[in-house]
């Protein structure tokens, strides 16, 4: 398994290189630059600034300089929040983003698996239909609609929770963003769990377990769920990717001071080094987490072996 993991890490390098290259050049295609503002700069000053950040060099040369820096682990300075390097900004945004993402995944697993199991146990009942219809809505309604709706209804009309912000990290600020981020994943996980649970409940080993006279709860929790959870585990890879990209939208809507907010602001401000830094971090995280999920799969399912 170790050699498999190593192989995966090695093959990730060219992928990362391609991502960096495409992102670097695509970003530069966007019109407007980091120093365009409501105050047009005198040409000499603009030249000074461009030179100070190497932006006056040919694009290919800038690209090579950037690659050289990245290899040394230096993401460069932010062009907009100048007192921080890109590394420092990502480090300062990471805790909020990670907390948000991790809570959303955990919430999605707990609620999704419970509801999915419930629906499967009461197959074709009212419970089943309502869980499935609600989850269909969860999947169909995009987060950029769901998040403002939650904020409006719960934050403004009912005035139960803050509409946005992160405060000093108090729980009440986190509830809405976590729910908004988790909803589509809850829905997916519930549907996946229900599907595989229904299948597993009809399999022979479950029938055997029941025939032995085991209590239903033990049958479900110890035997059926263990088999039914596998598709959910394999979905964890895409789920983390979805949570990370979804987090960009959710953080922006709720004003969470995380990496996603930086990403959006940096793109609007043409803060090139910060955009690149966040893209690289996202790419590396998604690749690593996918690998982790694949390895976890092997641990849980004895049938899967990597060599």
């Amino acid at each position: 398994m170790l050699s498999y993991a190593l192989r995966r890490v090695v093959t990730a390098i060219p992928t990362l290189f391609v991502i960096i290259t495409i992102a670097f050049f695509m970003m530069r295609l966007a019109p407007g630059g980091p120093f365009d503002s409501d105050r047009a700069l005198p040409p000499e000053i603009e030249r000074n600034i461009q030179a100070a950040y190497d932006l006056d060099k040919p694009l290919v040369e800038q690209y090579l300089i950037y690659l050289g820096r990245i290899l040394k682990g230096d993401f460069g300075p932010s062009l907009k929040i100048r007192d921080f390097s890109v590394g420092e900004l990502i480090a300062s945004g990471a805790p909020a983003s990670m907390e948000l993402g991790f809570s959303a995944i955990v919430l999605a697993l707990i609620i999704g698996v419970s509801f999915g199991t419930l629906a499967a146990l009461r197959q074709n009942s009212a419970t089943d239909f309502s869980v499935m219809s609600v989850s269909m809505i969860g999947i169909a309604v995009p987060n950029f609609v769901m998040a403002p709706l939650l904020s409006l209804v719960i934050g403004v009309y009912l005035d139960l929770l803050p509409t946005s912000g992160w405060g000093s990290g108090e729980l009440r600020y986190k509830i809405l963003p976590v729910i908004a981020l988790a909803l589509p994943q809850i829905a997916y996980v519930a549907r996946l769990t229900r599907g595989s649970m229904v299948e597993v409940l009809h399999s022979n080993f479950v029938r055997t377990a029941r025939a032995k006279g085991l209590r239903e709860r033990l049958v479900v929790v110890r035997h059926a769920l263990k088999g039914a959870i596998m598709p959910v585990v394999s979905y964890l890879g895409p789920a983390t990717a979805a949570v990370m990209t979804g987090s960009v939208v959710i953080e922006t809507i709720f004003g969470v001071p995380g990496i996603g907010t930086y990403f959006v602001n940096a793109a609007l401000n043409r803060d090139y080094p910060l955009v690149m830094g966040v893209i690289i971090i996202y790419a590396v995280l998604i690749m690593l987490l996918n690998l982790l999920v694949d390895l976890l799969y092997a641990v849980l399912d004895p049938k899967v072996r990597y060599s």
């Binding site: 630059g33 120093f35 000053i45 600034i49 929040i81």
Partner: protein, 527 residues
């Protein structure tokens, strides 16, 4: 219900205890700042949201007073030569926060740093009025060319290229701040980190979490520390206006630096004692590309400008107290008298529209040959609403207007490159002087003269004003220049800006003023 009441009571008692404890310990002012600071290094600051923090930390030769007016700061006194071009400042006996004395050399060092081409400072051109500054900044001369000299530790002599009555006011701006050379050279770009920063102003940075808040605490070494009441000031970074309003209502901030304009009716009805709407030194305008057909014809520009019903835009579209603008320089601007208003100001709108139609017909446009133009604006709900209103106002002249909006970066890049016909723009004054508005239409101003207005008479008057030391005479010449501009309308002024904010009745010493400067050192909180 009983449980809820009990809970509320407990919470209330807890809060009261916590607050009384806090009040005894220290006075904390919490400001909802409508933007993320860019840097604590004065040389890399270009937004007002950032300068609010740097103004609290570093004091220039002059600094902002309680009314936003320039008062003596790091300079205790100064003399001006008869020709108005040489200033000699006596530096106040005061210390940097690490105990090192502030010297004249700290100013020379700072100015050489901001002007050094390799610093890449956006705002360096504000110091071009100092002799040798432009040459040094553009690489045509070495630093010694800069005519700012430390005669001794406490005497600074500065020579200007022209007698500029706004120079003293300009010294309050962060571009003219001193820097602690010993600290900047030691830590280089890390000198502004909370653990390294050294200041000569009333407050000092202790923490900064991007996108969340920056906290400043009182600097005990500040020369007037005895008269500073607030112990700590927290600037929350809040781009979202609705969030500012919510947190203000919840009592989580004492000052909200902007409001959610769409809720103005509710605010007027419910929070009148906190809402402050005050004229602000700035102008919102449309600019015509005056070197491009059909806007080369002043009649076309003027007709379009005349048809804009500014009263409707201010009173019906915006409704937040903005004043209709018929001049480019807002009334009340420093070193200036009454602005030169456009000649149709005060005439009934219907009549003005008829005149505009006639002007347009004279220029060759009418029902047979309708004028079709594109109006550009950057993304914002208000810019859009104004553009839509103007589109229908121009329709009366038979003009077909296509609206085109982009994000701010694209908008301003295109404005700079001249890729537009008519576009929305705005200007907030850097210092309180009419020249700081009118130079936007001078041909020598380069890309910031978006209109590419090139009028010999206007340029001549501006040059003449620059050379005159007498304030009254200068104001008269500047007004003549504005008259030329209002007649040619390379820009159509639409409204004078207002600042809109929420100030808690607990805050004492907040004086409304047009520069919108409110140094924390003059504020206090009621116990």
């Amino acid at each position: 219900m009983l449980l809820k009441t009990l809970k509320h009571a407990a919470l209330g008692v807890g809060l009261a205890v916590a607050m009384s404890g806090a009040a005894q310990a220290e006075k904390v002012l919490r400001i909802g700042n409508d933007g993320e600071p860019q840097s604590m290094d004065p040389h890399y600051i270009s937004t007002v949201q950032t300068s609010r923090l740097s103004d609290d930390m570093i004091m220039g030769l002059l600094t902002y007073g309680q009314n936003g007016e320039p008062i003596a700061g790091a300079a205790e006194s100064w003399t001006i030569s008869d020709d108005g071009k040489t200033y000699t400042f006596k530096i106040r006996d005061h210390l940097w926060s690490d105990g090192t004395p502030v010297t004249a050399e700290d100013f020379v060092y700072a100015w050489r740093r901001i002007l050094a081409p390799e610093t890449g400072a956006e705002y360096a051109s504000l110091l071009y009025i100092i002799k040798g500054a432009e040459e040094f900044n553009t690489g045509k001369a070495d630093p010694d060319a800069l005519a700012a000299e430390a005669i001794d530790d406490k005497t600074l002599r500065v020579e200007l290229t022209a007698p500029a009555p706004y120079f003293l006011a300009q010294l309050t701006h962060q571009t003219a701040f001193p820097l602690p050379r010993h600290v900047v050279e030691k830590f280089d770009r890390d000198w502004t980190k909370p653990e390294n920063i050294v200041v000569n102003g009333p407050y000092k940075l202790v923490s900064w979490t991007p996108k969340v808040e920056a906290t400043l605490v009182k600097n005990d070494k500040f020369y007037d520390a005895d008269n500073v009441a607030i112990d700590k000031v927290i600037y929350y970074s809040m781009e979202d206006r609705t969030a500012i309003q919510k947190r203000f209502r919840a009592g989580e901030i004492d000052v909200g630096r902007d409001i959610a304009s769409e809720q103005i009716d509710w605010l007027r009805a419910n929070m009148a004692d906190s809402l402050r709407i005050v004229p602000y030194a700035g102008i919102y305008y449309y600019v015509f590309r005056s070197d491009k057909e059909p806007f080369t014809d002043a009649r076309v520009r003027k007709a379009l400008s005349m048809a804009i019903n500014r009263e409707v835009i201010a009173d019906k579209v915006l409704r937040t107290g903005e004043l209709p603008a018929y001049s480019f320089v807002p009334p009340g601007t420093g070193n200036y008298g009454e602005p030169a208003y456009a000649d149709w100001k005060g005439a009934p709108y219907d009549q003005v529209v008829e005149e505009a139609k006639a002007l347009l017909a004279e220029a060759g446009y009418g029902p047979d040959k309708p004028l079709s133009i594109t109006l550009r604006y950057n993304d914002s709900e208000n810019h859009k609403r104004i553009a839509v209103a103007v589109q229908s106002m121009w329709k009366q002249l038979g003009v077909n207007t296509e609206l085109f909006n982009t994000d701010g970066k694209i908008h301003y890049a295109d404005l700079k490159q001249g890729n537009f016909e008519v576009a929305r723009a705005g200007w907030i004054a850097d210092y309180n002087d009419a020249q700081n508005y009118l130079f936007l239409m001078e041909s020598k101003s380069g890309p910031i003269n978006y209109s590419k207005f090139n009028n010999e008479k206007f340029d001549g008057l501006m040059a003449e004003a620059e050379a005159v030391a007498d304030l009254g005479q200068r104001a008269k010449i500047l007004a003549e220049a504005e008259e030329v501009a209002m007649d040619g309308q390379p820009v159509a002024p639409i409204y004078y800006y207002v600042s809109k904010q929420l100030i808690s009745p607990q805050v004492v010493g907040w004086v409304d003023n047009a520069p919108d400067r409110h140094p924390t050192r003059f504020l206090d909180l009621k116990q």
